[in-house]
């Protein structure tokens, strides 16, 4: 864990890169949520901008296709008045044989201040953070099956909005945990914020080995797993999983793990239903649930902008109080 701290925090304990929720302290996570709270209003103003990152250049470096993550990062950066460069590299330099490191150095030479990175290889964001020029901050927009920390923080933000406190909560994460970076980042964040009862639910083929070591309980039965829970986080089932023999059919999967109004009855009456999107209606979630007032899926999307503003501003050192020691003053 120290590995993550040493690379994510600067010598004053401030957020320098945001690569994973693992190993970050509770104070820091709460700080991110608090800052996001203060940014949440910006989107509804007449002028949807604050000048915190004016003159800074942020590069959206997406090696993997993404719509909502890249769009919300883009919006968040623009609302902070930064200049944004969106690079979709999925089909670009890498296919021309350029190494990741060379791509990075090329962008560094253009005097950028921050990289938002999405890559299909686990550890890619760590790799980039370890190899960029020291003035550049790196935010992980999702790396392989490892981490998606801003998604986790917007999930925490959404949970806090609805449930206020974390320590008494029961949270269930349902579906393809094996391939989910969201699940891993959610688990680390939930545990750090004090949630004792975190469950992961899915068939054994979609639950990674040794997940118990992260402090969660494993269920292969949806009903048992969501009984009495306050929060249900549904995960997206990738179609490719059927080819890889992880599940027999969409039909059978929906029958066992698809969330319907009926099955939802065993959860707490005020339980909220979340999903990182995009949703597969009729595969992991029934439309009636997705569109019901229990569902907070669209709120998650708008919270994503506030969270990403907070994280970007903190990593660029543009917020006073971006520190674990509140008495530390900033020069910005």
């Amino acid at each position: 864990m120290t590995v993550y701290n040493t690379i994510q925090l600067d010598e004053n304990g401030r957020l320098k890169h945001f690569l994973t929720t693992e190993g970050l302290g509770r104070e820091l996570l709460v700080e991110i949520l608090d800052h996001a709270e203060s940014f949440a209003g910006v989107g509804s103003r007449a002028v949807k901008k604050v000048p915190l990152l004016r003159g800074k250049t942020i590069v959206n470096l997406f090696f993997e296709p993404s719509t909502r993550t890249s769009t919300t990062f883009d919006l968040a950066a623009k609302r902070l008045s930064a200049d944004v460069l969106n690079l979709n590299l999925a089909a670009s330099s890498t296919s021309k044989g350029e190494s990741l490191l060379d791509t990075l150095h090329t962008l560094e030479a253009m005097h950028c201040d921050m990289f938002i990175v999405r890559h299909s290889s686990s550890g890619a964001a760590h790799f980039i953070a370890r190899n960029v020029a020291p003035h550049i901050s790196v935010i992980n927009g999702g790396d392989g099956q490892h981490a998606h920390p801003t998604q986790a923080m917007l999930d925490m933000y959404t949970i806090r909005k609805h449930k206020q406190r974390f320590d008494t909560l029961r949270v269930a994460i349902v579906g393809d945990v094996l391939h989910s970076r969201v699940a891993r980042s959610d688990i680390h964040a939930l545990k750090t914020l004090g949630v004792n009862d975190v469950r992961v639910i899915g068939p054994k083929t979609l639950i990674p080995a040794g997940i118990e070591s992260l402090g969660v309980e494993v269920y292969d039965n949806l009903q048992n797993g969501i009984t009495g829970v306050d929060v249900i986080i549904m995960l997206r089932l990738q179609k490719e999983r059927m080819i890889s023999a992880s599940i027999p059919s969409e039909h059978e999967y929906f029958g066992r793990y698809g969330l319907t109004e009926e099955k939802l009855e065993v959860a707490k009456s005020d339980a909220i239903v979340m999903h990182p999107g995009p949703i597969n209606r009729g595969i992991e979630i029934d439309s009636k649930v997705a569109d019901s007032d229990r569902s907070v899926i669209l709120q998650q999307v708008s919270h994503g902008i506030a969270i990403r503003m907070a994280v970007m501003a903190m990593a660029m050192g543009s917020l006073s109080g971006n520190t674990v020691k509140p008495d530390e003053d900033t020069d910005k």
Partner: protein, 427 residues
């Protein structure tokens, strides 16, 4: 040329010798041990007081980059590293480019080895053409050209019918088969051991069964075909158990472990340490313990470096995209000597694992200090402490997981064929 090595502690497990005395070499051959022949007038005398005199190390697997990977390492660069590490014989696996599946490639390797003249290289021929797992290689021709065994290295033979035929044909060609036990489908593009670490890091996992299922298949086919087989780089405690059982019922099998697996575990991968990207993967503590137990019990006959030099580019990428393998030649002996310091092995046992047993597996007459045998001899200072740094490594591959480790024990002289090919005392 006559050489006399005086006063060293002679460690020669093949002849059950562990005591101080002289070793005399003449014209590339050991002429006498523990006594000086009448009228022996040495041209060179080495005072080995406080040091050990041992048979040269026989490394069952080291990749030297040639042919195909010359940008990373060459036989010349790696032979120099081998000599400095006390390794006098190495086997190189057939997964070069081109693959060692024709006598011409064997010839090329022999030529380069002869030119460097610092280490003996025995190529291992391909088990199937192009290592594709489809057609038998010309094993007889490879044997004639000098291959010491056959192997499909880390490439799968998916069809068990073909695997059976390769074993039968190898048996009838009197060649030992080197098996890298890995079930291709269970490996499933994995890069690290399946467990808490792979889950935390989100890296594609390799289950224990990738090894054990492959061992089980191979053992049944060995039993059926009678082929002499050597299992390379065991990584799981369960795999060790399976080999122990096979040996008990008398199957003609032997096994080795790579030095990394005796020292490192999956924990060392944490933080995406690409130098610990090794295949088979570093496993759990219990597995490492099982390997050490297997070493003591004799189930694991030999320890090899499994040396795989890479340049920075091959290791500078997100973990899954890096090339597997570690540069380990120069750490092999000191790490084995550390097992002596930990009272796990005696010095005699170290050279059983590094010389006597590998020679037996390969059917070589070397690996001992027997009078009349070829003089592949090393002198070791067991107490000399040093720190492994990339700048002093002779291997062109600096990809070692043991960087900045404090090691104890260094080779001071390496004789190949009675010729001094490394002298560490002058520097």
């Amino acid at each position: 040329m006559k050489i006399q090595i005086n006063n060293g502690r002679v460690i020669d497990p093949a002849n059950i010798i562990d005591e101080a005395g002289p070793v005399c070499i003449e014209d590339g051959v050991i002429v006498s041990v523990m006594r000086i022949p009448k009228g022996f007038k040495p041209d060179q005398v080495i005072d080995a007081r406080g040091r050990w005199v041992c048979p040269g190390i026989i490394d069952l697997s080291a990749r030297f980059g040639e042919p195909g990977d010359e940008s990373k390492a060459t036989i010349a660069s790696e032979a120099a590293a081998a000599a400095s590490a006390g390794v006098t014989t190495v086997c190189c696996p057939p997964d070069t480019s081109p693959v060692i599946d024709t006598p011409a490639v064997v010839e090329l390797i022999h030529q380069r080895a002869t030119k460097s003249n610092k280490v003996r290289i025995y190529p291992i021929g391909a088990l199937t053409q192009g290592l594709k797992g489809e057609r038998l290689s010309e094993m007889y021709a490879l044997r004639q050209a000098g291959c010491i065994g056959v192997s499909n290295a880390n490439h799968p033979v998916i069809n068990n019918e073909i695997l059976r035929r390769t074993f039968e044909y190898a048996a009838s060609t009197d060649l030992i088969v080197f098996i890298h036990p890995e079930d291709h489908h269970l490996r499933n593009h994995g890069v690290v051991n399946e467990g808490a670490i792979s889950t935390r890091l989100g890296l594609p996992p390799i289950p224990e069964t990738a090894e054990t299922v492959a061992i089980s298949t191979a053992l049944l086919l060995i039993e059926q075909t009678g082929v002499k087989a050597h299992f390379c780089r065991l990584s799981t405690a369960k795999g060790v158990e399976m080999i122990a059982r096979a040996k008990r019922v008398g199957l003609p099998v032997s096994a080795d472990a790579g030095i990394c697996h005796l020292y490192l575990t999956e924990q060392d991968v944490d933080g995406y340490n690409a130098n610990c990207h090794i295949i088979p993967p570093l496993r759990r503590m219990e597995d490492r313990e099982g390997l050490l137990q297997g070493l003591l019990a004799g189930t694991i006959d030999a320890v090899c470096s499994d040396h795989q030099p890479h340049n920075d580019d091959a290791k500078t990428a997100p973990f899954s995209l890096t090339r597997p393998g570690a540069s380990t030649l120069e750490a092999l002996l000191p790490l084995m000597l550390d097992l002596v310091d930990k009272d796990l092995l005696t010095p005699m046992q170290v050279f059983e694992k590094l010389a006597v047993n590998p020679a037996k597996i390969l059917g070589l007459e070397s690996g001992s200090l027997t009078a009349g045998s070829i003089a592949d001899v090393i002198v070791v200072d067991p107490e000399l402490s040093w720190t492994l740094t990339t700048s002093q490594m002779l291997s062109a591959g600096k990809n070692t997981p043991f960087i900045n480790w404090e090691l104890s024990g260094k080779v001071t002289h390496t004789f190949l064929n009675g010729q001094l090919v490394y002298n560490g005392t002058s520097s």
